[in-house]
Structure formats: C-alpha cells, structure tokens
Amino acid sequence: MNDRFDSHATTTCGYCGVGCRLEAHTLDGRIRSISPAADGPANEGHTCLKGRFAHQFSRNRERLTTPLIREHGSLRPATWDEAIGRIAGDLTRIKRDNGPDAIAGLASSRATNEDCYAMQRLMRAAIGTNNIDNCSRVCHSPTSFALRKSLGLSGATGSFSDFDHADATLLIGANPTEGHPVVGARIKQATLRGMKLVTIDPRRIELADHAVLHLAPRPGTNAAVMLGIAHVIERDGLVDRAFVERRAEGFEPLVELLAGYDPDSVEEITGVPAADVERAAHVYAEPPNACISWGLGVTEHKYGSEVAQLICNVALMTGKIGRPGSALLPLRGQNNVQGSSDMGALPDTYTAYRSVGDEQVARSFEAAWGVSLPREQGYTIPQMFDAAVAGNLKAMYIFGEDVAQTDPDTAHVVRALESLELLVCQDIFETETTRYADVILPASSFLEKSGTFTNAERRIQLVAPAIDPPGEARTDFEIIAAVSRALGHELGWQGPEDAMREIAALTPHFAGVTYERLGRTGLQWPVAADGTDAPILYEERFERPGGRARFAALPYKAPGDAADDEFPLILVTGRRLQHYNAGTMTRRTGNVELSDRDVLEIHPDDAARLWIEDGDVVSLRSRRGRIEIGAQVTERIEPGHVFTTFHFPETKTNLLVGASRDVNTSCPEYKVIAVDVRPIGERPSRLPALAGSGAA
C-alpha cells in the first residue's frame, strides 16, 4: 500500500449518515492521512473533506484526557474511581429518594450501535427507567415515525445505488452537496448521465442548478406541495392502480382529500407556480423508476411526521417502491442516527422499534438481563428538559451530545440543566453543555473505538480503532460498562462484539448479524439468521398487518410560526459543507480556514430594503431571543427568507428557536422561525456564556 505510515485501519466515517468506508493511515500514534476505501458500498472510493481531512481534532490539545468533578462550584481533575463513585453514589441516592424516573439518559447518534445499546441497557436495567432518548429526536424521528406508520420499517427502502438506476428523483428539504457530500456527488453524477432531478427547497441549493425543475415553497408548506403532486398524479391518470389495489389500503379517503389540492390552490398556499407542481408530478410519475430523497427540511417542522407520510403516499400511488431505481431514501443526518434508534435508545421502544409495552418483548429482555423492566414510556428529550425545569427530573447522563448548543430554545435547555442535581457529560471535548456538568468523563472519538455504525441505507458497518484514546480517556463502551457495574448491574461483555451477539440473540431483525459476516462491506438489516440481508425492502410485502402499506389522508396545516409585522422574515437553519453540526470536531481542524463563522444568508432585495450590505453585522431577533451575526447577501435564498447555521457556539443560533415541535415525535421546528433583521454596526456583541456557575 504505502510505505510512509506504520499502520492502517479500515473503518467507517463518523461524520454524516452516508457511511463512507475509510482507510485511516497512522504514524507514531497519530492519524496522518485518511483515504476512501475502494470497496465501500456507499462511497465507492470517494469521500468528502470532512471524512478525508477533518481528523486533526483527534489529537487536539483541548481533548478531555482525565475525568473532571465539580467541587465547590468548579471542576477539578479526578481519578476514574472517584468520578464513577460520585456518579453511582448520586444516582443511587436520587433513585432512592425520587424513584428511577427522576433519572434520564441520552445516547448519541455519533456513537456506535454497541455504545447506544449499552446505554439503553444501563438506563433500563441498572436504573429501571425508560427515560432514554437520542439525538435522532431532533432530526429524523418524524421520518422514522412516518415510515413505520406507512410502510412498516424505520429505514430507507433501498440503497444509494438506486440513484444510479433511477430515471428521476424528487429531492425535498435536503442539501446533499453540503450536508451529505458523497451522496450529493452521486446525485449530481446521475443528473449528468440524464436522471431528471426536481429539487424542492426554499433555498436554491447547488443541485438545483443540475435539476430540470426547482420548487421553492414557503417554509412549512411541504405538505401542500406533496398533496398537490399527489393530486396531479391522480388527476392525470398516473396512478399505478394494480399496485394500489394489491399492496396498499386507505386510498379512497386520500383521493377525497386530494380534491382540495389542485395546483392553483397549492400555489396559493406554497407560492410554487401551479405549472411547476404539475410538471414535478409528471417528472416523477411518468418514467418507470424514480426515487424520493429528503432531509431535515421535511422533518424539522410542526407537521414533519405528516409530510413524511405524504411523501410515502406519492411513492405508493405510483408503485415506485421495492425495486432497484425506485426507493424512498431519507438522508439521515448523523453517522449513526439510524443505528442509535435501531438499538432501542428511545423512550418507547426496545431494539428494532418493539414497544416497551409489548409484554412478550419486555419479558425476553427481563430474562436476558435478570431484572424487571418498566412497561411505561419514558421522556423524550424535550420532555426531559420540561421535567427538569418542573423539578421532576433530577439527574441526566448525556454522552456525545451538546444539547446547550444544538437543541432549540437554548435558554430553556440551560434552565433545565441548571435545575438538575446531577449532570454527567461524557464527551471528547468540553462543550456548551459540559459547563453545567457535575462530572465530565473523557471519552473517545470514532477513530479510537470499535463497534458498528448503521448508515442511512440500514447498512451495519464495522468501526475499527486507528489510534488509542488520548491520556486517560476511555471508550464510551468501557465507561458505560463501568458505570453500570458500579450501580450493581454487570453488563457481562468482554467488548462490543459480545454486545452485538446479545443484540442479535434478542432481536429478530438482527438475528444473522455477526462481525465476521459484516466484513468489509457490511449488511443491510433485516438480516436473517442465515446472514441474508435486505438491500431492498418490500419487494413482495410491506411489514404491516396484512402485508399492505397504508395511505395517509392528512391535510395541510399551517406551521407553528408565521411572519407578521413585527417579525417579517422567516429564518431557516441548516448545515454547511465545511462544518458538522455543533462543530465540536470540525472547528478544531483546518476546515475553519475555509469557513470560520456562521453567516446569515439574505436575498439582495431584502438586504436593499433593510439597508444591509454584504458583510454587515445585523441583529437577528425572534420571539424567543436575539443574536448578532454577519450578513451574506446571496440569491441562493428566496426573498422573504434568511438562512443560517449553528456550527459556532458564539453565534447561539438556537436561542432563536421556539418550542414548536412535531406533533407526533416532538422533533423541534428548526426550519420555520419568524425573525426581524436589521443592521446594527460593525462588530457583533457576543452574548456572554449562559452558564450561571463559574465553570470553565
């Protein structure tokens, strides 16, 4: 291979949900270079600047290398025994005084399946509560809900390779060339070969330049767009009658509902020209094979879970599901958003989305773990913060998530964290959230651990360590096992592979998963006991009662926020190519040389009206809060809208986001925030840290 390095590890990227397979090359205990694995099924020898270059964070001097304990208001280094003793002591006391439901845990969509499985077992078996959730709550929980409701299983129905076989694709509320660059490149290559692409997004994303049609609906009106497309498909005789009759149910109520969504009415609601709605429907429905792909622009809304069901409707009406080139491909945000939920790190389900109230399932876990388990659902993440502020939740154990930077309504989150008697954070860096921690445990990055991630294609892929954790840092898996042991519940695993054996034994959909079978290219669940996996779902039947998919007759409803005289513009938040979410990793790499701040995108017409010039610092105020940020005047955004990111903690973008949430899954409405924008001066006056304590 290469003589410049002393070791190599093949692993799976820890950034987004694409699941690129990587070769990490090390020299003297440091990552020196990362290259794409030629046989990676999702990336086929390609990767983006995050996967390939943004690895210097792994040896950044700010890495947490020793446990920290808060004493007399400030943090001091501690031994592992002290830190774990403090956690076990406090949790035992809180459980004795307030019951197990006064304690909650957050697993991480950045961590491995085995880490997340261990965390939910810790909460359920060692503590005795279903108060366990993960950050997919604030991104793709509506997708998961909708896919289960409409089709049966919570996962993409096909693979990224379906883009290579599709004649057309609808891309809704996603900007893959920035958020999922390797899939973005794949979609772009498909368009260059002649695949017809329709982009639907309030921003003119890069792929819109390669599309046959770009629809720019008003934020929060996706439901009307999908209903309009369905209306045209029905009206123009593009319905696959045989498929609908044989494989689905509930079509008649939908047809009745669609009558009210003719293209002109849809234009009224969405601002999308009626002719464009008609053309989009024909581009999708006419050719033999087409895909629909979507991102957080669909889910992070008050009715996100309903829109995802309306998307399923369109695929079901045209029979474009269950074969190569015809698939529903939600672009999952984080590397293991799929897996952390598959593993049962959710307040209402065990592994593979089996309800905590299901007696037979609960008994199987009770038998395996030797404890009795609660049958009632636990708190979702937003409910945890509400309960903490109300005084009902006393302790949280958060690993791999920076809720104080990424969750909505930052002031409320901070109030919740300050209300806790015990906050345990397990992370690789100090974050906005660790400011409020009583114990901080130094954990490991994806380059330092073993286990598996599950990508957006349901593909379970091996993660292998390339380097050791720095200092005294340990792997998340080891830490969770140690905390569980201290609480009197021995997990009994030598390593992550033992955890996967237990998952396979207790979960029919994972029955045939072994590390040996995962090999270099992984397996797409469900995996039968003989190791046969499922690149395509629903070829013959849907995973619902009677094997039939379910149409959803759900009308358009207005979003949770709307522009008015005081807040005349709509803010949409999202991600940029160079950075990743809270930026904890990418801000500590050369990527900051390429992009060193969050900016507010504003259309030239709005900018001229508001006397704002490119680079000006503006005040950005919502019903919830106010921040200051530099403006970028660009035609990528539609008039009436502004866009920004939340990669830099000093920006505090999420102060602006309100409490509006998806009606079914409580996923926050990050995508529709009424704001007032005005110029203020030359420099932003950054808000002081929200921490009340004198923490570092």
Binding site: R32, S33, A38, H46, T47, C48, F53, Q189, E593
Partner: protein
C-alpha cells in the same frame, strides 16, 4: 463471451475491456492514467498488451473484448512500449517521485532505471500552501488527466483544468487561482488519484520529503 489471457480462459460480460479480462484472469497489466473510478481514458499507453492477429500492441484499458480474443500481457513489444513511455515521463521530472506513488511503482515493476534521455526537466517551485489541505507541486505533473477526470466524474465539481501544451502541459484549479479560490470543495479526490503526488495532502509534504528515493 470468452477471452484467453496468457493461456487462461475467462468469461467476461458484454462491454468488458481487455483490462477487465486480464484482471478477471488475475494477470497484471501495468497502468498509469487508469483509475477504476473513472471512465477509461487511454492516454498514457502504459497498459499495452499483445493481441493475436494484431499488427502491434493494443491499449488494454480502452479496447473492448471480442469473443475468442487471445491476449498476451507480457508481450515483449508491448512491454517495450510501456517501459519507454514511463521512462519518457520520468525524464521530464526534476526528481524521482516518492516510492509510494503509482508512477514509482509502475516504473519499478517495468524495471525502468534512470532515464536515458537528457533534456529539459521541470523546475521545482515552492508548493502552493494557500489551502489548508491540498497542495500542488506542478513540476511533478505528468498530464495524465486523472485529477481533472476525478473532479468531473467522481465529485462533479469541475474545478480542475488541463492547461498548456507539450512540455508545458499541466493542471490548474479554476483559472489558475489555486485550490482555495477556485470552485474546489476540498473533497481530495484529485490527491487520492494523483499517481505522482503533484497534487498531495499538505500535511504529507514533510513525509514525502523524508521518504527514501
């Protein structure tokens, strides 16, 4: 259809190339401008093989298979052409490329020694270090076009361009603005495919200099 490579019969699909057939037969064919991720280009003439009934060697990467073809991978004329091409390419470089590079490896495999052709070679320039990750060393460019094609066919950004003619042929980002100020999205596909390190990761420059020649 059936193709015979070095006496070994292999079954190949319609549209397969002679290089595909050779690989299916587990026979080595030297390549330089070829990358599996890219459409075959057929520019370098290093993948030459002998073909029964053909007046001279043929390029394996762009020649489609026909049923009954008989291919000799180690055909002496083909190997002579390939070695001469690699030697000419090396003769333009100011230094031998690092041992880990594809060019050095194919040169070693073809037993190409010091180039016998004296003449002009590219003058080393200071590496472009404007971008945090990617750097050019134009003097190592052999104009194989792999970076330009990777940017087009794998990433789809079209940020790289072939420039100049003859001895001055080279590659630039955008209108020679450097990676940082071009349309480049820093995916690194160009550095990954470059067979000489003319495009390399900045952080690996020091390692490249340390590596034995």
């Amino acid at each position: 259809m059936r193709v015979t490579v070095d006496g070994v019969d292999v079954e190949v699909a319609d549209g397969a190339t002679v290089l595909d057939a050779a690989r299916a037969a587990d026979r080595w064919v030297p390549t330089l401008c070829f990358d599996e991720r890219l459409d075959a280009f057929g520019a370098c003439r290093v993948c030459m093989v002998g073909l029964e009934g053909s007046p001279g060697p043929i390029p394996a990467c762009t020649t489609p298979c026909r049923d009954g073809m008989k291919v000799e991978t180690a055909d002496p004329a083909a190997r002579r052409v390939a070695g001469a091409v690699v030697e000419l390419v090396l003769s333009e470089l100011p230094e031998r490329p690092g041992a880990h590079t594809e060019l050095a490896q194919v040169a070693a495999a073809l037993e190409v020694g010091e180039p016998r052709w004296p003449g002009e070679s590219h003058a080393p320039a200071a590496p472009d270090t404007d971008h945090p990750y990617l750097t050019f060393r134009h003097e190592l460019c052999i104009s194989c076009g792999r970076c330009v094609r990777a940017c087009d066919e794998v990433q789809g950004t079209f940020a790289l361009t072939a420039t100049g003619r003859g001895f001055h042929a080279n590659v630039v980002a955008g209108l020679d603005e450097g990676f940082r100020h071009s349309a480049c999205v820093s995916c690194g596909a160009c550095a990954d495919t470059c067979p000489t390190d003319a495009i390399d990761e900045r952080s690996l420059l020091e390692l490249a200099e340390e590596s034995p020649r």
